[in-house]
Subunit: 186 residues, 2 copies
């Protein structure tokens, strides 16, 4: 294991943080390499030392998210009861939506990314598997739609003004309650 001295925000790490902020604020397509370079205090050419293309930056920015989602599902698969699996998935998704909410919103909603990932179908497959895991093989439409509303609403609800007065624990609790109501697990 190599040493990680002082965890300085340098090189790629800093670029990724800047890029994510701009992607979340303006959308990926509207964020130019110039914008990222300016904000990071380097030149456009400087970016190309680290990344060959813009898409490479985009995918690297969202790498933590793209890894975290399947991890949630794997943890849920370990449970034996449906209730436990549902709680694991809802809790895991909420955790991600709250703590990486910029990335989660980009991942769920940005049209640029939808196209980029759509080519590899990985997201859709993950979601199919996860849905089946918590809904069962032949779910009733109402519950399926409730789940769709939850996952789609999570990104938006996570950054809603209604969240501001709440502390972390209350936020998790409120979102979990939404999920349970939609899935009729209350």
């Amino acid at each position: 294991m190599s040493a990680v001295p002082s965890r300085r925000r340098t090189g790629r790490d800093q670029l990724l943080a800047v890029a994510l902020r701009l992607f979340a604020r303006d959308g990926i397509q509207a964020t130019s390499l110039q914008d990222i370079a300016d904000e990071a205090g380097v030149t456009k050419a400087g970016l190309y030392y680290h990344y060959k293309t813009k898409d490479e930056i985009v995918l690297d920015v969202l790498r933590p998210l793209l890894d975290a989602l399947p991890a949630v599902t794997r943890r849920a698969e370990a449970h034996r009861t449906r209730t436990a699996r549902v709680d694991e998935v809802l809790g895991g998704l909420i955790e991600i939506a709250l703590y990486e909410h910029s990335g989660f919103a980009v991942l769920m909603q940005d049209p640029y990314l939808t196209r980029l990932l759509g080519q590899q179908e990985s997201m859709r497959q993950w979601w199919d598997g996860t849905s089946t895991l918590i809904l069962g093989p032949d779910p009733d439409p109402q519950t399926r739609i409730g789940l769709a509303m939850f996952i789609n609403g999570l990104a938006g609800a996570g950054r809603d003004p209604a969240m501001t007065p709440l502390d972390d624990r209350s936020r998790r609790q409120a979102l979990l309650e939404c999920g349970r109501r939609l899935l009729r697990c209350d």
Copy 2:
């Protein structure tokens, strides 16, 4: 009242239909005037006879939506009981999400539009008023977040595969049920 002979898809109407489809599929920013012109079978310059700028096209595409949302709120204001107002708002939003779901998704989620409208704050004001109308002046956080999840989830749920097997009436019913659960009106 002028005659509307044969309702031909011509001129602006056809351009708007094409533009909306591309905006919904690829995002506004990723849709160039060239793309719209190609798909509509005209040249880029042809677009400029009808519209001076791209933003003008964008706003005209979404005009029906931007008019429909305040109309829902006005109808809801006419009711005296909270329950009736909630049903009017939920029903109205669902109607829009189902029958203009491309436009609704663009309106709710496209970063380009968020910026364009953000400058005039009109959407935020409409939503503030509508929230207050159905939640009351001092709502509890859980219900506020439930409403946020509903409005944000509606766009995504409206085009989810889970909708496919259902007819129109069942779709409306399922989405209404989601809203009622989130707002605890069941």
